[in-house]
Structure formats: C-alpha cells, structure tokens
C-alpha cells in the first residue's frame, strides 16, 4: 500500500487499528518527498530526522489499547512563515535564512500536542509577498500538475506538497488569498478561516489585520479535522475572540437541502476564463440539484477590494518589517561604520525587490499627506465591502465564486505589471478584507487538465456551513480524488 497517498482520516484509522505505525507512514512519505521534491521543490527545510525520531517515539510510547488523536503520527508541513521551535523559519527570505525560532506558533504547538509529525517547512514568496514563489530567496515551487507552471503564491509550497502527496496536510497563511489561490491551482482543499478564529501567534506578520492560518488538505474532512485542531481562543493573540463551540468534523453532512447560495454576479462577468466559469457554474448547478437554492447576488463594491487590500497590506507590512534590522536576529552585514549604514545595508541586501517595493508602497500610503487618501480611504472602503457582505448574508448562507479567474499560469506568463497583482487577488481579496471565512474546493479541470477551484465565502465564524457545502459537493463528485498524473517513478 502506498501509505503516503492516504488522507488523514484514512491513515488515522489504520494507525488506530494498529495496522500501520507512524514510522511506516513517515518513511513512506519521506520516500515520496525524495522522489518528487527535486521537481516540485515544495520544501525549504526538511525535518526528516526529527520526523523519524518523533514517529519512533510515538510508536514506542503508545499502548495498544490507547486511543490516539486523529492527527497523531501523521506527517504535516508548515508554510515557512510560521514559526517552529528549533526548526529554522526563513519566510523565504535571505533576511531570515538562518533564523531558528525559540518558540512555536500556537497552531504548530496545537498540532504538536496532538502528536502530529512535522516534516518540514514549505516554500512561500518572500514574506509571503508574491503570486508565484519567484520572490522566494531559495527556489520556485512548481505545480505538480504541470511542472512548467506556478503552484500559486505565496502558499505554493503548502499546496504543491499536499497535491504531490509529500505531506498529508499543511498549515499555510492567507492574507489576501495566497492559501486559496495555491490550493485551487494545485487541486486541493484550502480554508481561510474567519479573521480571529485561528491564533496568529508565531505567524510572521504580513498584513496583520488580515493574516490568518488555515489548513491545506486533500479533502474537506481532513480540512475540518485540522481546523478543529488549530482553531479557538489563544491568550497570546488578543484577536482570537471566540471560544470554539462547534465540532466541525462531526457536523460534516452530505446535505445542502435548503441551503441558500448566492452566486456572485461580479465574478462571472469579464476577466474570467471560460473553463473556470463553466466549471464553477456546473458545480453550482449540481448543488442546486442536491436541494440548494441558488440566486444571483451582487456586491458592487468588491471591485475595489484588491486595491484596498493592496494598500492595507502594504501599510501594515511596511511597519511589520521594520524589525528586521540585523540587530536581534536575521541577516546582518558586517563591519559597518555607523548605525544608518547597518540599517540600510542589512535591509537592502537582506530583502528582495518585491518586499522593498511593498514596504515603500506602505511607507508611502502612511506618510503624512497620503494617509487619508490611501490608508484611511482603504479602511473606509473595507467598511463598505463588509456592509455589503453583511447585507447579502441576510439573504444567503454562503456566496459562491471562482477562487481564481484562471488556472495556474506558466512561469514567466504573468503580465509584468502591477495590474497582474490586482487581477490575481480579485476573487480572494474580498473575503480577506471583510475577515470572512472562505474555502476552496476542486470543482473541475480546464482543457489543459489543470485543476479549477470553487470558492465559498461564509458568514463570520460560520465555518460549519462552508464545510457542509464543500463536503456535500465532494461527496457527490470525484474531483478531489484526482491526483497529478505525473509518473514520478
């Protein structure tokens, strides 16, 4: 049996029945990584020895009759902007090339408590700024469905690793859509939780008011399992307001009867690939066939979401990235005559161009004289967008739209101007700006055989309904079972 191909819930069953050990699973997964990662390049840092040791210890310490947590002994990966104690955390930047955090992010500790096995750190764009991993200091991650194509960005490492069966699931961040976009491009499931549902402690800040960590998984059930493990209040992140009250896994039901689905009109107009549009509309039709009510809904202001997102992200990031000054940690140039030289040389050499561009943009947006026109205005537009969503959710339980207007582009394909950024964030930024939960599930393939993602946006803190809709869709289709057709061996 090729253990690495299993889902979390399948593997957990086998471990619990003592039919396989964690070591067997970890070894199988390491083999797969060995096989494919030279092509996919999902990992920045592989924690193979540590993973083997942990699985060995787990197998040895578990009594036969003992019930294990569903995540126990199962390998996972972590996007490299999430801190892992004792395992270097680079943010895909030269700046943090050698940074080994003395603490773990709360999400990582929570999985560790359940005895999940950390396989390593996954590639991302530098400080998660980018759409392709081309801004990664280390390498580009390639799409397992077509190695000439991007796997998305910034969470490309996470999505590609899951799609190529290099890990069972991954924790990734989503600020403006990076998790969802990468998951969609790689044909896997990805959830961006409600802002404040998952702790950001130990997650390297990018756009603080939008950053969230979510699971990237092989199916909806795995996604719910991981979400269940990481969500809920954390004293170390004052924004995690809600204590967790639901059991998301138990609530999974193959039932959308009466579910009110709003079809987001603005996202089916121009600018979306025909294949993508058709696939999502087909998917919605099948949900309708299963008993859901589908109606069009319009959110006119979301056209401003990408620009508002861009301003808020850049402003917050420009401040968040001030701490990288060569003094306490991270890259530092040697032999500086004075302080200013230390700051400038360190930051100029330690950061790549994409980061510098964003930081300067944010600095510009916050400067006296620009603050009202850009930053404050973006915050006001956020209010308008949020209000439009709230109004729509009086009538609908979820809103459906494509995750991305296209499928995965080729490397070098992207238009080399700022507008490309806006286009890419077009469908993901609205939920980010409004802090709403959004899930992407595979819903078809384009004519080139590349996966297409469908996105559901839900009410704040109503991840349950997202899971239910996604699970029902999945139970009645088989897109999630398809794996990249590349013969690695």
């Amino acid at each position: 049996m090729e253990l690495y191909k299993l889902t979390v819930h399948e593997a957990a069953d086998l471990i619990n029945k003592r039919e396989v050990t964690s070591q067997q699973i970890v070894q199988s997964t390491l083999q797969q990584i060995n096989e494919v990662d030279k092509d996919v390049k999902a990992f920045i840092t592989l924690a193979d020895e540590r993973a083997l040791e942990e699985s060995r210890q787990l197998d040895a310490s578990v009594a036969d009759e003992e019930g294990l947590s569903v995540l126990a002994g199962i390998p996972f990966g972590v996007e490299d902007n999430i801190c892992t104690e004792g395992v270097r955390t680079t943010c895909a930047s030269k700046m943090l090339e050698n940074f080994v955090p003395p603490y773990s992010a709360t999400v990582v500790s929570r999985i560790a408590q359940q005895k999940g096995i950390l396989m390593g750190k996954l590639n991302t764009d530098e400080f998660s700024m980018g759409l392709t991993t081309e801004s990664s200091y280390f390498h580009e991650t390639r799409n397992p469905w077509d190695l000439n194509r991007i796997a998305g960005g910034a969470s490309a490492g996470a999505a590609a690793a899951v799609a190529a069966d290099e890990v069972f699931y991954a924790l990734a961040t989503d600020t403006g859509g990076s998790l969802r976009r990468a998951a969609a491009f790689c044909g896997v499931v990805g959830l961006k939780p409600t802002y404040g549902m998952v702790s950001r402690y130990g997650v390297i800040s990018s756009g603080s008011s939008m950053d969230q960590v979510g699971p990237v998984a092989k199916d909806v059930k795995d996604c719910a399992i991981v979400f269940q493990a990481i969500a809920g209040r954390d004293m170390a992140d004052p924004m995690t307001a809600k204590a967790m009250t639901s059991n998301y896994v138990q609530a999974l039901a193959d039932d959308v009867n009466g579910l009110r689905i709003g079809l987001l009109r603005e996202c089916f107009d121009q600018g979306v690939d025909k294949d993508v549009k058709d696939a999502v509309l087909n998917a919605v039709k099948s949900l309708e066939g299963l008993g859901a009510h589908v109606e069009e809904v319009s959110l006119p202001s979301i056209e401003h979401a990408p620009a508002a997102y861009c301003v808020i992200l850049s402003a917050e990031a420009s401040s968040n990235l001030g701490r990288y000054d060569g003094i306490k940690y991270g890259y530092r140039v040697e032999r500086c005559q004075d302080l200013d030289e230390l700051y400038k040389k360190t930051r100029t050499q330690g950061f790549g161009d994409e980061v510098k561009l964003r930081v300067m943009l944010g600095t510009y947006a916050l400067s006296a004289g620009n603050y009202e026109r850009y930053y404050l205005q973006a915050l006001k537009i956020r209010t308008i967008i949020k209000n439009e969503f709230e109004k729509a959710f009086e009538k609908f339980d979820i809103i459906v739209l494509p995750t991305c207007p296209t499928t995965a582009l080729r490397f070098g394909d992207k238009v080399d101007n700022a507008l490309a950024i806006f286009l890419a964030d077009k469908y993901t930024a609205p939920a980010s700006i409004a802090g709403l939960p959004a899930i992407t599930v595979p819903c078809g393939f384009d004519t080139k055989g590349l996966p297409i993602g469908m996105q559901f946006i839900g009410k704040a803190f109503d991840e349950s309904t997202l899971f239910r809709a996604a699970f029902t869709f999945e139970q009645n289709t088989d897109y999630h079972i398809k794996r990249p057709a590349i013969d690695w061996r």
Binding site: M239, D325, C336, D338, T348, A378, L379, T383, K386, A418
Partner: protein, 97 residues
C-alpha cells in the same frame, strides 16, 4: 489622474524604510510604484463621506492580560539568533546622540 512617483520620492521612501539604491534601481522603483499607485488611486474616487474606517474586522474589544509576571526567556536562548553579541547585549556601531 496620474500620480507620478519621482526618483526624489523614491529617495525619501528609501530613507524612511532604510534602503539604499543605485540610480538605476531608483528609476525602476519609481516606475513600479507609479504603476501601483495609479491603480490604487481609483480608491480615492469612491464616495466614503460619513463612512467609518474599519481597523479591525472583528467587533472584539477589551482583551487584556492580568498584571502577572511570567518567567522571561533564558538570555542565551534569546540572544542566539543575534549576529553580534557582547556582554549579554546586542552590539551595534557606536550610536552618537
């Protein structure tokens, strides 16, 4: 309205963000910044009269910790990631006030 970011603007921003650029890089960043700012400048056309800004999307407030001392981190561990340490302190080039 086209917003032009000049080389002088780039110099100002680079100073504020602590970067240093060659003339060529300044030109390049001026162009890239102009592109983006022109694109986001459409935001200014949206009527936001009377709209309150949303700083936090959540309606959370008043999350505090109690005034309780917790153990600090071992200094050796804390300083481990620093490039230049002397006498248990971070070292920087002489700062003149």
């Amino acid at each position: 309205m086209a917003v032009g970011i000049t080389v002088k603007d780039v110099e100002y921003l680079a100073e504020a963000a602590k970067f240093e650029f060659t003339e060529e890089q300044k030109q390049k960043f001026a162009q890239a910044l102009s592109d983006i700012i022109n694109a986001v400048d459409r935001l200014a056309e949206v009527d936001t009269e009377g709209v309150q800004p949303t700083i936090h999307v959540l309606s959370v407030k008043n999350i505090f910790r109690e005034d309780v001392v917790l153990p600090s981190m071992d200094r050796d561990i804390l300083l481990k990631n620093a490039a230049d340490v002397q006498d248990g302190c971070y070292r920087v080039p002489k700062v003149v006030e």
